[in-house]
């Protein structure tokens, strides 16, 4: 069974630039999550999708972050414009019921 795929793996941008991350969940998993993980901390949920719909985006900074999940499969997370404090690893995860599986993450550095 293929795992959660993410790209790119690494990204370096300057502040005020925009960036986009892509995620392909495990086939058949209806729920998809985007997390932000800052060094030394646990993952922080940014947004959760159930199929095409948003279940929870309460911690998503909506003035600069946006996310979509097309046709209930792939998802993209965008940051525009980026700030220094957005430097983190962005993790995508998917789940069928109670077991959540993570992708390798995208390490973002904002200079």
């Amino acid at each position: 069974e293929a795992g959660v795929a993410q790209s790119p793996r690494y990204k370096i941008i300057e502040k005020r630039q925009s960036v986009a991350f892509w995620c392909n969940p495990i086939s058949g998993h209806a729920t998809l999550y985007w997390y932000q993980q800052i060094l030394g901390q646990g993952p922080k949920l940014l947004i959760q999708f159930q199929n095409n719909g948003v279940v929870d985006d309460s911690q998503l900074p909506k003035d600069r972050f946006s996310a979509e999940r097309l046709k209930g499969v792939d998802s993209t997370l965008k940051i525009q414009p980026a700030k220094l404090e957005d430097s983190a690893v962005y993790l995508c995860a998917s789940s069928l019921v109670y077991e959540q599986f993570f992708g390798p993450g995208t390490r973002l550095t904002v200079l």
Partner: protein, 110 residues
């Protein structure tokens, strides 16, 4: 109070030692408990998954949940240098929202 609390460590043990990693949680509605292992520059990997109270064993790893005290533990027997990683505990009640601890960094010294 955070939903899941975890001692960040770091924890350093000699090879072959028994390791005990612990978390506490505040929401008595949590029914599902997970342990993830995260190697440096990798995504978290699901290690163990338990439902309600009790123990679950998988090779050298044992996950234990005590719902009466809201305590989650992971024991690693005969620890190996390859076990060096950050261990994250997580809980959920409905499978919709997962609450993570901050992670405990473990180093097993050869």
């Amino acid at each position: 109070q955070k939903e899941v609390e975890q001692d960040p460590g770091p924890l350093s043990v000699p090879e072959g030692a028994i390791v005990s990693l612990n978390c506490t949680y505040s929401n008595s509605a949590f029914q599902y408990f997970m342990w993830y292992r995260q190697y440096s520059r990798k995504g978290p990997e699901l290690l163990m998954y338990t439902y309600s109270s009790g123990n679950k064993e998988d090779g050298r790893f044992t996950a234990q949940v005590d719902k009466s005290s809201k305590y989650i533990s992971l024991f690693i027997r005969d620890s190996q240098p390859s076990d060096s990683a950050t261990y994250l505990c997580a809980s959920t009640n409905t499978g919709n929202q997962f609450y993570f601890g901050t992670g405990t960094s473990l180093t097993v010294i050869p």
